[in-house]
Structure formats: C-alpha cells, structure tokens
C-alpha cells in the first residue's frame, strides 16, 4: 500500500475501482448520447416564441390601428396639439393635479402651443368637452389595457 502511494497518483487511481467517476472529462460534443442538440433546438424555439410580439410587430408594421375616438363637436382644438395630448395627456393632468391640489394654485393653464388659457380642472375643462367617456377615453385605454382610476372619484358628465 505504502509502496503504491509513494509512486504518485496514477497507480492509486487505477486501483480505486471508480474509473467512471475519475475519468478525464470528454468534451460534451463528442459524447455519443448527448442531449445537446435537443437543448439547443428547445432554446431556439423558446427564444422565437418569447420574442414573437417583437418581430411580429416589426414584420407587420403597425400591428393594430389606433381606435377611432369621438371628438367633441363645435371645438376646433384641445388645450395643446393633438399629438401632444395623445402622448402626454396623463402628464398634463398630473401637472394640473399637483398645481391645484398640492399648491392650491388658482392660475389658469396657459397653452404652450396656442397661448390660450383654461382652468386647470379635469371635470370642468377636459370632461366639459369630452363628455362621452366610453367613446373617447375608454377606446384607447381599453386597447392598451390601462385602467386609470380618474373616474373612481371624478364624475362623468351627466349628458351622454
């Protein structure tokens, strides 16, 4: 025993009887019964499936057109241009909310684009023109699946 130990690790390994475990690792690609191809194919399929919305939207251009909203009649413009309102109305409302509720401001809002003045009020200004929530607000909100809590407290106009 002591003689074998003295010779180094090579003879000791041969005698342990656990050659399978002590085997020098073989590169995985060369193993006869490897799962590697299956895993790679599986990963590729998963990647394609997960990114489906991204590349589908890219391939199809616009996936779905914006819903048609019912604009108020008798008014030619909103407080800011249409595209600004489309993209930033929630920020504008937040700004009004902070100014009126938190700072107690009684100043009118001055439009950046038109210079016109209006009262900073969701109920009186916005809902004053956009009287029909279902045909205006809800159309886009439903499509993009957002549920703003505005109407939990702010009242809809009575006229429909």
């Amino acid at each position: 025993m002591s003689e074998k130990m003295g010779t180094g690790s090579e003879p000791l390994r041969e005698n342990t009887g656990q050659t399978a475990c002590r085997e020098v690792p073989v590169p995985i690609f060369s193993r006869a019964r490897s799962d590697t191809p299956k895993i790679i194919v599986g990963l590729a399929v998963a990647l394609v499936a997960l990114t489906f919305p991204l590349w589908y939207a890219l391939a199809a251009g616009r996936s779905e057109p914006s819903p048609a909203v019912e604009l108020p009649s008798g008014v030619s413009q909103c407080v800011e241009p249409k595209d600004t309102m489309k993209a930033h109305h929630m920020e504008l409302l937040r700004q009004w909310q902070l100014a009126v509720v938190r700072e107690g401001s009684n100043e009118p809002y001055v439009s950046h684009a038109y210079g016109t003045k209006c009262k900073m009020s969701l109920t009186k200004t916005c809902l004053g023109c956009h009287t029909n929530r279902a045909n205006f607000c809800d159309r886009c909100h439903s499509q993009v699946n957002v549920q703003p809590a505005c109407w939990d407290c702010h009242n809809e106009s009575k006229e429909k």
């Binding site: 009684n106 407290c153 009575k158």
Partner: protein, 269 residues
C-alpha cells in the same frame, strides 16, 4: 510630540462620531425650537371660523349647514338596516354634537341648562399644530402654508387611518365602501366623490374660497337664520377682518385647547 497610530485612529474615530451625531441633533433641536416658537399664525394667512352657539340653537340652522356642506361635497348618507344613519360607517364633515361631548373640559354638573345637552356644530378645527398631519405617512394630509387649511389629497391617501386615530375631534371619516351608491342621483358633478378606502373631512370649502365664495355652511347658516350670521368666517391674521373683530369683542372658547393642537374654530357660548 510622538503619537502612536492607535491613539491617532482613536481620536479620529471620536471626532467622526461626534460630527455625525451633532448634525441630526442640532437639526432636530432647531426644528423643535422653530415649531415651538411658531405657535399660532406663522406670519401667513389663517382661515378661521366662529360659531355662535345661541344663534345655532334652532335645529333648522344646524341642519341647513350640514345639508349644504354635504351636498356641495358629495358626502354620502349611509344608513344601516334599520334605516338609521350608520354609526359605524357614517361620513360627516360638519355635524352636531352634544355640548358636553364637544367640550368635555368645559362641561360640569352645574353647566347652564341652556348649554347642557345642547347640540353644537362641530367640524375640523384646521389646527395650527394638526396631529393628523404629523402621523400621515404619505403626506396626503398637510397644512397649507398660504392659508392654514388642513388639506386632504385623495390621490395620495392610502387609507391607513392613522389620522383618524390622531384627531382628538373625531373630524375624520373613513370610506368603508364606495360612497356613490349612497349618493343616488344627487351627485354634484363639479365636485369629485371619494372612493373606497380613503379618509375625508372638512376642507373649509377650499374650492369655494378659490372662486371668492365663503364656505357653504356659513352662507347657508346666514340664509336659514334670516340675516344675523350664526357663523363668521375669515382671516385670523388680519386684525381688521370681521372674525378678528368678533373674537376681540366677545368671549369665545375652543375645543380641547389643553391638547395643544391650536384649533382655529371658536365658539361663542
């Protein structure tokens, strides 16, 4: 002079610790002094209200105040199964309370019969040192610096009800359920309703003051009493205002003054 590395590090540590502690300590002390000295008006405007108890003796006057306020602010009337106003879920901004309940420090066994059991109009006192504001974790309630109104921001209220526990006047109500079904068709669209899970209270008709009107209760009480105003509203920081003159002329009391909240609603007994 030779100093060992060990003693040098000790001294550096002591100095750092001292400096680290001193900042917050001095800051807190300075703030406490500022708050303590700034009792009453902090130089700015402070809206206040004087309620003349004898002039509110008639029930119609008090009822008109409550009705006008609750109508103006979409305050629901929640009734229990027996048709009575629910004691557990009642929402109120201005209401009547017995004299001895409103003024436990003033009432005694020999209180004049004219006051004993007499209902008194009570509401949020818009305190100078509002305890509700101190406990609010989201700053949903705060004292407005420009006019001293203790405001509520329903967008920020998370319904923790700390303010209800903190208010010694019971001036705050919690919306245990959606109030809209209890308003029926009487919703005033210009003023928002509340939603389930927020606390509400009197706002001194902040939205009317903005338009240059006086609070709804003050206006309605004058109408109901027929001329002589039972409620007087105005700026306490202005010595020439009607309220300041009234306060300097007549003896008035406040609710639970000893608590140090600095109420800004005064009563003529």
């Amino acid at each position: 002079m030779h100093e060992s590395r060990r003693s040098f590090l000790k001294r550096v540590g002591c100095v750092a610790l001292g400096a680290g502690c001193a900042g917050p300590l001095f800051g807190a002390a300075g703030k406490a002094v500022e708050e303590g000295l700034g009792c009453g008006a902090s130089g700015g405007k402070q809206w206040g209200l004087v309620i003349d108890i004898p002039k509110c003796r008639r029930e119609e006057v008090r009822r008109a105040c409550t009705a006008a306020c609750h109508r103006a602010h979409n305050v629901p009337e929640i009734r229990d199964a027996n048709g009575q106003i629910s004691s557990k879920e009642e929402i109120k901004w201005i209401w009547s309370e017995k004299f001895e309940d409103a003024f436990p420090d003033e009432a005694h066994p020999y209180t004049a019969a004219a006051l004993k059991d007499q209902p008194v109009l009570v509401l949020c006192n818009h305190c100078t040192h509002p305890p509700c504001v101190k406990v609010c974790p989201t700053a949903a309630t705060w004292k407005r610096p420009q006019d001293g109104i203790v405001m509520m921001d329903m967008h920020r209220c998370i319904g923790c009800r700390y303010c209800i526990a903190a208010c010694p006047y019971g001036a705050r109500s919690f919306n245990w359920r959606d109030p809209r079904p209890y308003l029926h068709a009487a919703i005033r669209p210009e003023y928002p309703t509340r939603t389930k899970g927020v606390v509400e209270k009197c706002n001194f008709c902040e939205e009317r003051l903005r338009d240059g009107l006086e609070p709804a209760c003050v206006e309605e009480a004058r109408k109901a009493s027929g001329g002589d105003p039972p409620l007087t509203f105005g700026d306490l920081s202005d010595p020439d205002s009607a309220i300041s003159r009234l306060l300097s002329e007549k003896p008035t009391i406040c609710r639970r003054l000893s608590l140090g909240t600095g109420p800004n609603v005064f009563y003529i007994v």
